[in-house]
Symmetry: C2
DNA sequence: TTGCTTGTTGGACGATCGTATAACAAGTGA
DNA sequence: TCACTTGTTATACGATCGTCCAACAAGCAA
């Protein structure tokens, strides 16, 4: 007779990915305080020791999850940009609208992000990651605004305003999901764009 | 000879206030994960047992701190409203502008708020407190917008947009203090108000 | 001064935390 | 079939967590 294996070996990259995704799920479900080594390992279906084996410490796993989650958002935004076509104004609108559609508008992702924010104060490496990610996000917005013909002295403030509005809508959607829908959030953000940019897109119709 | 007292008795309300303020300082300094009973008690200069004596559990203390912090913000906003005079439009502008001036713009207060947000997922009592506070905040905004003559079918979205923008600016100010100043945040929020309200107030002059 | 109320202390308790490590077993090549 | 490598498990360890409680003492009344 043959016993089935007690566990299955996995490729290192596979296992890392699995642990990172389990960490993200735990952060979304239980918040930062619930993301313990044992909880994450249970979520991933492995033994607690594997976290130390692959990441050294749970802090490193959380930081890796932060980077992975940020990369997911960047990829989704980049995809939205290429799908929007060549028109700069359409690209900008797609950039903002995509923030309120899956996979970015995923409530689990928003909750995960809040968990990261709560770690910024205590962890300097997380703070550094946030600074670069926020700088990249705003630089992308500035480039899009410039392509739309927004004067240079207005680009900075407009980028800050757009990113703040999007972050705030994200936040309330996550904290009080019943307050308003993601469709409403998207409409509000688009209206904000209209107000910030006097130049109208080529495909402008009605609003 | 006379030994000085080993400790000093305090009025119950005084002691509660002291513990709440110590809890807020710890939340701002170390985040939600650093707000342990012993850390808070050390910050307040008392023994750890006092937390249980006055609040029953550390969770109740955190919830009380949330309520106290929210009340502080409400009081500051109310003061800004009365100082703004009778004109509805001036009241609305003061309401938003005050969000980026002390004591609301205090970085410690913002950090404390983030700590609360990180607890919303895991703690239903904190979530309930957030829902009521957010509903109150938005109801105030709706009343101000209505007084400014904004049509009823636009009040809801405008209130959501304003609160989201303010929250987002708060957030980035706390996470990356070097990104922009509170003066810039205030200017951005005021520009947002101008864009949202097409109806001009009676005392409108220039902009 | 003496006695009493009770705010306050400081440590005990079990649970859970992150980390380290010895023992085990899955998969591979000889 | 049989080592051998190493991914994986399970446990041990000290530290810290929240909660609880018996003892102490500050301040007031008599």
């Amino acid at each position: 007779m043959s016993n089935k294996p007690a566990f299955k070996r996995a490729e290192p990259d596979e296992r890392r990915q699995s642990l990172i995704e389990a960490c993200a799920r735990v952060l979304a479900r239980a918040g930062a305080s619930g993301a313990s080594v044992r909880t994450i390992a249970l979520e991933a279906g492995v033994s607690p020791g594997l976290v130390g084996h692959y990441f050294g410490s749970v802090d490193a796993l959380v930081a890796a999850t932060y980077g992975h989650t940020g990369a997911r958002v960047d990829a989704a935004l980049a995809a939205a940009l290429t799908a929007a076509g060549p028109d700069p104004r359409a690209k900008l609108e797609a950039f903002v609208t995509a923030s309120f559609l899956p996979p970015i508008a995923d409530p689990q992702l928003l909750a995960t992000w809040i968990a990261f924010w709560s770690l910024v104060r205590a962890r300097s490496d997380i703070a550094a990651q946030h600074d670069t990610q926020y700088a990249n996000f705003r630089a992308r917005l500035v480039a899009l605004l410039a392509a739309c013909g927004l004067p240079g002295d207005q680009q900075r403030r407009a980028a800050i305003a757009i990113s703040a509005l999007v972050d705030g809508l994200w936040l309330e959607l996550c904290l009080s999901p019943g307050s308003f829908s993601s469709d409403e959030a998207s409409a509000i953000a688009r209206a904000q764009l209209d107000a910030l940019i006097s130049t109208r897109p080529a495909t402008w119709k009605d609003r």
